[in-house]
Symmetry: C2
Subunit: 188 residues, 2 copies
DNA sequence: CTCAAGGTGTACTGATCGGTAAACTTTTGC
DNA sequence: GCAAAAGTTTACCGATCAGTACACCTTGAG
């Protein structure tokens, strides 16, 4: 299997895991949906967990790439980008395939706190926090770390709420809330 | 099995499902941990899903009972109760057994949008939204519905973040954020 | 005491779980 | 062109999955 075949396996596995969940997706289903035989899968990944970690690494990379690119398209100023984040989220929520945040879902299924899957999920959130904190700094927030935390809270809340309630509305609520926090962080 | 035995089964099943997850908890493990034989379990619940729904109904009831009671103990005024919500959450986050929100976790594992498990999860969030909205109304918020939404976003965000990052800190961040939103909703 | 009714534990079902052994086919290096 | 290496297929492993058949035991009524 050529190296790009491995990437394609991970890419296809990502789709299935995201759609159906981790425990609910057996290796046999993965074989059927990716077209890659089980033996080949186990040539590249020693266990299902290892495959899941690879899937999460890809997800981290591609989600952030998409998100940051979309935010850059939607706004020019740092403050504008913070608000535009929620427009980008809204677009995501409205996709038919939207199934919440894959890292939150992974954390829900793998609870042992030093599980590599959970570590990967925590890492993703940490990197997003740094992204928002950097935007907050560029926007001139009084305390960029605190504003970053707050924006992250709104983002996570919007993801969970929109997923469970089945509406993209929380993205708008979060955006208006972010506007208030931004004002507060810039005044004086 | 006497009726209170059934409740005890659901209570014990709740502990196991919350600790280990839904798909990762087989009926055999449930038999071992509850001391109730499989035959007896299936006398009361036709399927595992039906048992899970019963567990979620109990969780909804007991969580809200604990939460609202704790908030009432911590504050007297409606605005104070909104802020005290995050103190109550912080206490929850610090429990050793804390494993995030059971409804978010359930939604992560059961993605089919009309699955009764998912419906139960959505219902729980809806009821909490009404709780916060009512507090916002009593506090004299300009638009109680909007403030309620925002507080809910903060709560969900804090739950997810504290669960993945393994720290109760997001409860404090969310509380300070709620204070800003409250001020904004009361001014003028 | 007897007998019926309902709750219980044991042992099992076929299906699927994650993972592997070994034969077979394709690709690669020389 | 030919052999070694890499990838694939098929068939299988024991364990566990959700769910059930049935014998057993307890209980309450007469």
């Amino acid at each position: 299997m050529r190296p790009n075949k491995k990437d394609e396996l991970v890419r296809k596995a990502l789709t299935v895991f995201y759609r159906d969940g981790f425990h609910a997706t057996g290796m046999d289903k993965l074989v059927a949906e990716t077209g890659v035989s089980k033996t080949s899968i186990y040539k590249h990944f020693r266990t299902k967990e290892e495959l899941i970690v690879a899937v999460l690494k890809l997800r981290d990379e591609s989600f952030r790439e998409w998100f940051e690119k979309r935010v850059d398209e939607l706004a020019d100023t740092p403050a504008g980008k913070i608000l535009a984040s929620f427009d980008a989220l809204e677009e995501w929520f409205e996709e038919d395939s939207y199934r919440g945040c894959m890292f939150i879902n992974a954390g829900a299924e793998y609870n042992c706190k030093d599980d590599p899957i959970r570590v990967e999920a925590a890492h993703h959130k940490q990197v997003l926090l740094e992204y928002f904190t950097e935007l907050a700094r560029q926007a001139g927030a009084r305390d960029p770390g605190i504003l970053g935390c707050r924006i992250l809270l709104l983002k996570e809340g919007a993801i969970v709420t929109s997923s469970l309630l089945g509406t993209a509305q929380p993205a708008c609520d979060a955006k208006e809330t972010a506007r208030i926090l931004l004002d507060e962080a810039l005044k004086r």
